[in-house]
């Protein structure tokens, strides 16, 4: 029940953002996030951003294993 993908924010328009992944663009509702900026990666589920990807934590997770 959790299919979601990280997409990059290209434009912001009030409660919505246009996010992109691999050339695919999709409008996403960002009401659940604060301070979304262009270039942020947001996790999209059923047309909504449920979280922002924490880039530092992502790096740390990968470093732990490498």
């Amino acid at each position: 029940m959790c299919l979601a993908i990280p997409m990059r924010v290209r434009e912001i328009d009030g409660d919505n953002a246009v996010a992109e992944s691999g050339g695919l663009r999709r409008r996403a509702n960002i009401s659940f996030l604060r301070g979304v900026k262009k270039g942020d990666y947001i996790l999209i589920h059923a047309g909504f951003a449920i979280e922002k990807v924490n880039k530092n934590e992502a790096k740390k997770t990968l470093k732990l294993i490498a």
Binding site: M1, C2, L3, I5, L43, H45, G47, V53, A58
Partner: protein, 357 residues
């Protein structure tokens, strides 16, 4: 794909599999995952194959489609039969068998049933078709519930009178309590659902380690995430709730999303296929939003729901039996003609076993 591909890396996966072998040191562990997307990805990435045989992964009641009882489907189908009603649903529900039919079969008969990707798309259908009633089938756990709540908030704000939701949302922590209380489930720990946890945080699971002494790790969905979470579970020297999926999940969760759920929904008892009624494990629409509650808005007449007695979905969902133990598995119940919900959903345990062996 950034933040996806790096977590599928072959070398990292192999390194983690080795680390797990070493850390487990021949001891047997059984871990349960309770998210349909975890079940799916474990099969998709052949995770079981990568793990040593002393680590067992079992699937619990994490597929919202599988745990939805026949009564919900029967009601949805009855609503589809009403004049000028358009049913809008996630694709996941289309093939799930109710007591007598499925949404896919009803659509083939000519009923107005549309597959959408987001409930906001369903709201758009309502906007564009003011002479029709759009009923959205609200299923899913705490990852999806906030989105549906938001669609109801938007419908109220914009005075859209022809949009309503048939609420079938369920919540995670209470059913896990019921699962463990019953005693039939024997596991050492849980891989907790990463996206549900993004919303509710880690707090609601603490009882699993305190009351039941189970190890818990909130896990992401890529192979690196799942394996790293398994490693963390093995390495816990005292049962605790840890977060592996740190790039997405924070301990407090997402307050804005939770607030949307709290504004529109209230907790209620809910029936889980194969488990019966579990207290406060489901959501119902609050009276302030009653106009958007499809359950109360339409009259459908008496529906007699029934479950197939030979179907072992319930036991499969509790992780107590594997699909091949069911008499119907692979015989009268296959992905082409499913009897139980576990066979329908792509990540239903039975479908996954059937497809991927």
């Amino acid at each position: 794909m950034k933040y996806v591909d790096e977590f599928r890396d072959k070398k990292m996966v192999a390194a983690l599999a080795d680390a797990i072998r070493v850390a487990a040191d021949g001891r047997t562990y059984t871990f349960m995952e309770v998210c349909g997307t975890h079940t799916m990805n474990i099969f998709r990435f052949a995770i079981r194959q990568l793990l040593p045989s002393n680590i067992r992964l079992v699937s619990g009641p994490g597929c919202p489609v599988c745990v939805t009882p026949n009564a919900y489907l029967d009601k949805a189908i009855a609503l589809a039969g009403l004049k000028d009603v358009i049913i809008a649903t996630f694709g996941d529900m289309m093939r799930v068998p109710g007591s007598y039919s499925s949404l896919e079969k009803e659509k083939a008969k000519g009923r107005s049933i549309r597959v959408i990707y987001s409930c906001m798309d369903a709201l758009e259908v309502a906007r564009k078709n003011p002479d029709k009633e759009v009923v959205f089938l609200g299923i899913g756990f705490e990852t999806t519930a906030p989105t549906v709540a938001q669609s109801i908030i938007a419908a109220k704000r914009d005075s859209i009178k022809n949009y309503s939701v048939l609420c079938g949302h369920k919540t995670m922590p209470e059913v896990m309590d019921a699962l463990l209380k019953d005693g039939s489930v024997r596991v050492d720990g849980f891989l907790l659902p990463g996206h549900v946890s993004a919303v509710i945080g880690s707090g609601p699971y603490v009882f699993l380690s305190r009351k039941y002494a189970k190890r818990c790790v909130i896990a992401g969905f890529e192979p690196v995430d799942i394996l790293q979470a398994v490693l963390m579970l093995i390495k816990q020297d005292r049962p605790a709730v840890e977060i592996q999926y740190k790039r997405i999940v924070e301990a407090p969760g997402n307050r804005l999303a939770e607030r949307a759920i709290e504004k529109v929904f209230d907790k209620t008892a809910s029936e889980w296929r194969g488990m019966g009624v579990v207290k406060r494990s489901g959501l119902k629409i609050r009276s302030a939003f009653a106009a958007f509650d499809a359950g109360g808005k339409f009259r459908t007449g008496r529906i007699r729901s029934k479950e197939n007695k030979s179907c072992l979905c319930g036991a499969v969902l509790k992780g107590v039996v594997i699909p091949s133990a069911c008499k119907l598995f692979g015989r009268s119940c296959t992905p082409e003609h499913p009897v139980g919900a576990c066979m329908v959903s792509g990540e239903g345990t039975c479908a996954a076993y059937y497809k991927y062996g």
